[in-house]
């Protein structure tokens, strides 16, 4: 922990946020296979609600945005707008080969390509589509990032725009 010690309410907030990450799912032009895997996550077999992960319909309630699929040109401004509505601190998971680089849709006339061209991505999930365990793993990875960011007072230390305090400890 660097800098001034956070207030009790701030520490309580960070603790609560890590215990119950609410996700919102955005289909930016995927083939729906990733969406089906996310639905499998929410169903009793994988049951992410036991970790406190809850799928929300509104981005204003969410901490984590899960983007499925390559971004089409029509969806790109909408994805940007959804991302802007999520309150800070917000995290983005790009799902599958399409989210990482366009996948099979790479280079088509109607494709923006990777999710990273539109919104900053924190976690990429490999696979086409990724298995539900990998999606859960990505959300848990996001929780780790969330805890580290809370300790560093924001996400700027990861983006290389701020001096990194205690870099060797955090990696």
């Amino acid at each position: 922990m660097t800098g001034p010690s956070p207030t009790l309410s701030r520490r309580l907030l960070n603790w609560a946020r890590g215990k119950s990450p609410w996700v919102t799912i955005f289909n930016s032009g995927s083939c729906n296979a990733c969406d089906i895997e996310i639905l499998a996550c929410l169903m009793p077999r994988f049951d992410v609600e036991r970790f406190g992960i809850l799928a929300r319909g509104s981005p204003r309630h969410a901490d984590i945005l899960i983007v499925t699929g390559a971004v089409t040109r029509q969806q790109a401004p909408r994805l940007r707008r959804v991302w802007e509505q999520i309150p800070e601190p917000k995290y983005v998971i790009a799902m599958g080969a399409c989210g990482a680089g366009g996948g099979v849709f790479q280079g088509l006339y109607h494709m923006e390509g990777s999710v990273e061209r539109v919104v900053p991505v924190d976690v990429f999930v490999a696979g086409c589509p990724p298995r539900p365990d990998e999606i859960i793993n990505a959300v848990v990875t996001c929780l780790g990032l969330m805890a580290e960011d809370a300790a560093h007072g924001g996400r700027a230390w990861r983006m290389g725009t701020a001096p990194v305090p205690g870099a060797e400890a955090s990696t």
């Binding site: 040109r73 940007r80 006339y109």
Partner: protein, 160 residues
């Protein structure tokens, strides 16, 4: 089950507007010109009868743009009316008044290939995104994205 459509029946129906050939067991192709396409489709539609439009497929062969109107009826034989259009000025009469579902296909072909359908009631953009430049047609063989043109989506300076 009605009786199957033979090549002779199709050739007789389109007498004077095009030639018929059998391309596969249950597929018959009628080659016609852009002036006669409405007449050929009307005859295939009424005389044979092929009363359903499956699809209009479009091929850019680099020399011409081909339109294929696939029609089918109770007899389960697909009759394809084929017409070639010049690439530099692809224009054809609409068939959306004869076959109402053709209207949507024609709007899509207008978007992707730039074929102008004369007499179409609303030939507006259907499948391309809102910011797409109106004079570019991405499924033409010679189309390449121009790095200076904005095709919609998010401008990289806005993303920051």
């Amino acid at each position: 089950m009605t009786e199957p459509v033979t090549l002779e029946m199709v050739a007789g129906a389109v007498e004077g507007v095009g030639g018929a050939e059998r391309v596969r067991a249950n597929r018959i192709r009628v080659r016609t010109t852009s002036d006669n396409v409405r007449e050929a489709i009307q005859r295939v539609n009424r005389v044979l009868p092929c009363d359903r439009l499956i699809s209009i497929s479009t091929v850019d062969t680099a020399d011409a743009i081909e339109l294929h109107y696939h029609l089918i009826g109770q007899h389960r034989t697909i009759v394809t009316v084929t017409v070639e259009l010049p690439r530099d000025k692809p224009e054809i009469q609409t068939v959306s008044d004869l076959l109402p579902p053709a209207g949507l296909y024609e709007r899509q072909i207008h978007d992707l290939f730039g074929v102008v359908f004369r007499g179409h009631p609303g030939l507006t953009q259907l499948v391309l995104n809102d910011d797409w430049p109106p004079d570019e047609h991405p499924l033409r063989k010679d189309w390449k994205p121009d790095p200076r043109t904005f095709y919609g989506g998010v401008r990289q300076q806005e993303v920051g």
